[in-house]
Assembly symmetry: D3
């Protein structure tokens, strides 16, 4: 394994602790924590889709920015009917709020207290966002209470984002030529399917995909869920028209936009 | 993807939810949840060693028994000096008890409440064990409180084990010809290094391994840790004499013993 | 106090427990729980704005549907910079996730376990939503674990919504003739100011309002907050062009849409 | 709205955050947090009685001392049979200990960390007291851990009290000419009824009040409650002899005594 | 050890589990759980006073009623200045609310789920009461959620009491010939000292007792505590006039009253 | 009571707070906290065995080292089948992880924050260990967050150990002439029985002891427990061959080894 950081693995789980220690000690280290879910994604996508996507995007962003990637949070918050079909569906194994917050809090506080300058939480499961925010806020409090400051006495920082917020208007127009249906019902739809076709084609079975109209869901969340409101596939919109080329476009545009944003915000190379 | 269960991926994250649903509905489904850690393992092993090993062993056991493998718990309980060198070492990012218990409880309760007949927690990080036990006990309570029974009204069950408890005396004798130093100081030592050399050789750098006498630690745990008691490498015993052949022996013997035990206990094929 | 339900106060805090008991016993009772926040809203709006608005809207909806209104959750989740200016601003007193979830869970479980058929959580503070969802899910689990079913053995239900999701396109076009800037930066802006000018004009001081361009915030959340990114007023968009007439329009349209939706969903009169 | 503090609203929810910020910055700011309950109070008093009373008393004390009043904690700890009739009664919607502590802790820590010199928790529901005490203790710990000191480096303080502890012997003698039955069974009795008749007569229906002997309860608490031990009204003593004049006497005497005590203790004007 | 229950030890910790099992199986078993504290009690009483007293009283009551005594909760809730001098005093080692509730909840749920018909929590530390109440309520919920009913399908019950609530007026008059100062300041005073002189004279050093006027404390609790408000001894009233005869009187009267009450309430012999 | 520390009681519950305060102020104070369980120990040993043994050993160690002994943690973590027979057995009353951690955390933080230099947790119940470790780690964090340092600015320390880890090979050879069966199945066996015969003979009934082969348990933990795997006695190995002489040997050797270790580690006399 070469000893220049750029040639070392971006995945921290594949790096040894001595190299990690030296990398952090050089200052300005950025760790990306991908967050996903274990969630049904219809008959054509695997249950690990959200973590696979956020992790792969994190690796690509890390490769462009000198950041490194922590192990993903592979289980996410309860799937909600309006964004993921609902937590009642087989194949969706979720954390409750306390579990997700506690796990993310420990991971973030761990990196921050070891001198990592910035932690970026890269979210790939809609329902996670607010709980990851709470985790970040609590972790920073933990670090403060333990009397730990960042390099040069500065406070370390956490950035939290969902990767789809970096899809540009231009990309949307190409991916959804008939008009974008909205992020909320993009569960098992064109975005995720195209990305998977580009990144993990061996895990996608387009011949099992089912065409159906997008889910028409009320403006409220109702619990317990009225199960019939979710299409039988478990997808909120059909993956009709997904292809690897769209996936490549999405992937390249998003990782570039994300890398640019991180460089600007964090002053990384 | 072929439609006979035996040919489908053992990793649930790679399977679609409809196939998962059908597999569970057939009855007798066993899901293995690997538990690991993100922990320094000296200069020659990667920080993800524990989760990599428990996941790979889980996959091999699943392939032999028809079980399937959930995403690993990639972060573990705080590293203790007497078994992992200590939680103060760079590269060790740990969960506290509440976070680990909460996460594992949700994951176990999730599978059990969907009709999975048996969940096997396959542990690869010494410090995790008791917290995983608590998670299993609480998850079964959750499932009971929700009024869910297993197939035919029987209670679903959880099995919890650490993979090294399946290393036989004969294997020990071969792997440690000069005598076995004890599991407690097998951190970054011959067992883990040999297994990694067999399973993930590209992640091991034997030329960075350091030979040193085994750690001599007191009978008590002291907190805060007296840092000098941990060898500088972070390993509690040196990996001297590790090789891929020993790794293969360990891996084959342990997976076979584990598969045999699960078949006998759970009545799986 | 007259003894027909329609003439009794819609606010449960003003009703006696015997009348409440009889009302619930008649079946089909719906209780609306308004959720707000105690949060800076710039120099021209009072800190209680979110709870005042959600409570007033709840009362109007209740008057139209025969529902009753519980005491509001007057403190909300931490203000986030991208939707509320940030939790660092004086005058923002927030609950953490655990506190908000615990409080809402107890309140919801309380009503559900007494035989209330439907609880509607009417949210008026953007950041609350996911935590209220968790509270609803946990409360329903509590009710199940306690062996309580709704009338006729049916499960009681919880509806969760934010009132701005009921603003129609037509209303938006009238309220924002130059184009709608997005709900996220509608903090202390035209919507809230106009509603307050209609409903609680004595608490608004338009002469203190400051005109400034809308906040330009990054796509990520950063913690700790970069304070300068929030406009000095604390508002994310200026209240320019707010007036009581717009407030009346918003109020009437939203309450009617909400009442209609509840009637359709819950079968209430 | 006039700009001298004395003329601004005492209710913080009605004040804007800029004025609040300036008021706190002047030093010595005291915020009163009223604590109540949502609890059955018999057939003649509304369920919001406890919060209505503690809030109104808080406003009067604030007007006399220059303090300001935060939004009340409108839900309280579980009603106990010996002081509130019991938590099993319809119309009593309670928080458990964790929820009440968490909520009050966040609110107190919020004000203290923004530089408020003193927070006074004014309790109006017997069962709350110990949980509010815990919240105060934990909030002060939070503020310390965050490294926040009060003005001039002094520690901010919390005062906790129940308003009935300020009823003088002379007042008692007038209000209860036949002898005081004890605070514990003053639930829905002469004190609360008279205060409500003075302060919120439109919410009291004396014609629905029922005369009955005071509850005779054992020296122990028993759980689950023996329901028949609570009088059918839900009141522990009858409101016989309540009138607005007694309410006025109680209100004036208590607010004056409380204001005097706060002035002496906190050095406020 | 004789095999009739009456001759077996009243302390469960001294009994074997087989005899316990048989005793419970006979039905109607009552277990008393003493609750105390580890708290400074001035210069003349030991720090374990509260648990020693509640345990000894529990044993005497058990001997009279056929009940048995569980191990005491030896650590109690934070000492408050108005009832115990304050939690800042050396020698006071306290549990926070969550810890005390969690511990008592587990202990109570444990006995109830094994078929014990009644658990009596006998409190000897003023500050504990409300947290023990919460524990009892939660434990009964746990037992219900686990689907456990008492003998004959009846719900098991918990009784909660403080032993001083059983001191009669007649006893008070004899013990305090100059008038009773109130339970709140009976910390390290005549009641506790006399009881200890009767029950554990070897642990009392009257020659170290200090005579001082009773503490004069405000009607509010203030945190952080104004330390000077607690007398230097740590006692809230002086033990002047304590003697073993008063202790015997108190002990005999209280245990008899308690035993009578339990017999009447629980139908035990 | 004599005033030299050596002659004062080793049990802190029997000491007054003023002497405790002075003892701590002299510096270098060591407090031993015994941890046990309330757990079935077969037909011949009492349910309090674990706490009785750890407390008695703690007292002997304290007498040799000048340490003092806090009240034991009398309830322990859930009994596991492989080390204690299982939590389903009558007479086993356990704490869950959260309760045990919370209780021990408060007790440890209490002593450490009062200036005690070292706290030694002396464990006597196998299942407790990891939860006590977590408590120690959290307590030290609490003390740090509160800004408390030990004497001379040094950090106070916690030592955690199980007493059986101090049994020497020589002692084992004498106590188990036919070979040592392993600590895991030493539940109600020769070690505990012999120690009790030496220390508390009046609580042991050897005539009720049952001879049976040691339990043969699988390498995994299974939940819910397969009850038949635990011998009917509840002991994992029979107490055959136990006697008071072995108990004395064990007791003397262990207390001496422990005292020696503490003196060396903590620099106590």
């Amino acid at each position: 394994m070469p000893d220049t950081a750029a040639q070392q693995p971006v995945r921290l789980a594949h790096l040894d602790a001595h190299r990690y220690r030296d990398w952090v000690a050089r200052g300005g280290a950025t760790v990306i924590v991908p967050a996903g879910a274990f969630e049904q994604h219809g008959p054509h996508l695997p249950m690990g889709t959200d973590a696979l996507l956020s992790t792969t995007i994190a690796e690509a962003v890390a490769a462009r920015t000198g950041a490194k990637v922590a192990e993903p949070l592979a289980y996410g918050y309860k799937s909600q009917q309006k964004s993921g079909g609902g937590d009642h569906l087989p194949g969706t194994i979720s954390l409750d709020a306390a579990a997700l917050i506690a796990q993310a809090r420990c991971v973030l506080a761990g990196f921050l207290s070891q001198g990592v300058a910035n932690v970026v939480v890269l979210n790939g499961h809609f329902e996670n966002y607010q709980f990851l925010y709470e985790a970040a806020d609590l972790a920073l409090g933990d670090v403060r209470a333990a009397g730990i400051a960042g390099e040069g006495g500065s406070t370390p920082s956490v950035l939290l984002l969902s990767y789809w917020d970096y899809v540009s208007e231009a990309t949307l127009a190409e991916v959804y030529p008939k008009g974008f249906p909205g992020w909320d019902i993009e569960h098992g739809g064109v975005l995720e399917t195209s990305l998977m076709l580009h990144l993990r084609p061996e895990l996608v079975e387009m011949e099992r995909a089912v065409s159906h109209p997008p889910a028409s869901l009320p403006r409220f969340d109702r619990l317990p869920v009225v199960a019939e409101r979710t299409p039988e596939t478990g997808c909120l919109s059909a993956p009709d028209g997904s292809d690897a080329r769209k996936g490549e476009l999405l992937f390249e545009q998003v990782t570039e936009a994300l890398a640019t944003d991180l460089r600007r915000e964090l002053g990384t190379p």
